[in-house]
């Protein structure tokens, strides 16, 4: 899902923070973030995960984004 949204990502990791498969820390470094405010960077990640966020599969999501520029 994330790999589809960020095919150019130089770093992409998903950490299951609690081991229960519903609290995640997502870290993405991608050129898609270059020049974007943090809010818009996080919006892109939220959009990529819209389905599992909406149906409650993801109970808690932490996001860390970085551009490549």
């Amino acid at each position: 899902m994330l790999a589809d949204a960020f095919p150019d990502a130089t770093q992409l990791s998903v950490e299951d923070r609690t081991g229960t498969g519903d609290h995640f820390l997502v870290t993405v470094t991608s050129s898609r973030f270059d020049g974007l405010p943090l809010l818009e960077q996080h919006r892109l990640v939220n959009a990529a995960l819209a389905a599992p966020l909406a149906d409650g599969t993801i109970h808690e999501l932490r996001i860390k984004t970085k551009g490549t520029a």
């Binding site: 943090l38 996080h42 919006r43 808690e60 860390k64």
Partner: protein
């Protein structure tokens, strides 16, 4: 627009800093809500908190308005700043204080206000 949505909008647009959270500043029910609240406190922001837990509809209407899926959500002068990760990162870089100064004026810390309002 229904009454609940209108009330949420009124808080977002009417309060200098609105924090939609799980629980209240006196009894925070979620780690991320606490992270956002503490970052705002460090920045000296006047916080108007809204507990979204009393009714799932609050969160649904809020996310429909903001286009943001998770809680907490922080707004300054009607504009979404972000969730816990963003607010924390902006506070650490000093950008949150700059935004508060820009939007609320240099004396924003004097208010030191922390209150909770209900939207139901």
């Amino acid at each position: 627009m229904n009454d609940l949505s209108a009330k949420i909008k009124e808080v977002i647009e009417g309060e200098p800093v609105a924090l939609f959270m799980k629980g209240t500043p006196q009894m925070v029910m979620c780690g991320n809500s606490l992270r956002a609240l503490e970052a705002l406190r460090r920045a000296g922001a006047p916080v108007t908190a809204v507990d979204i837990l009393p009714d799932p509809a609050i969160r649904q209407e809020l996310s429909a308005l903001s286009g943001w899926p998770t809680i907490p959500q922080v707004f300054v002068r009607g504009e979404l700043v972000g969730g816990a990760d963003i607010v924390e990162e902006l506070e650490q870089s000093g950008e949150l204080e700059r935004t508060l100064e820009d939007k609320l004026g240099a004396g924003y810390r004097d208010a030191r206000d922390e209150k909770t309002v209900a939207v139901l």
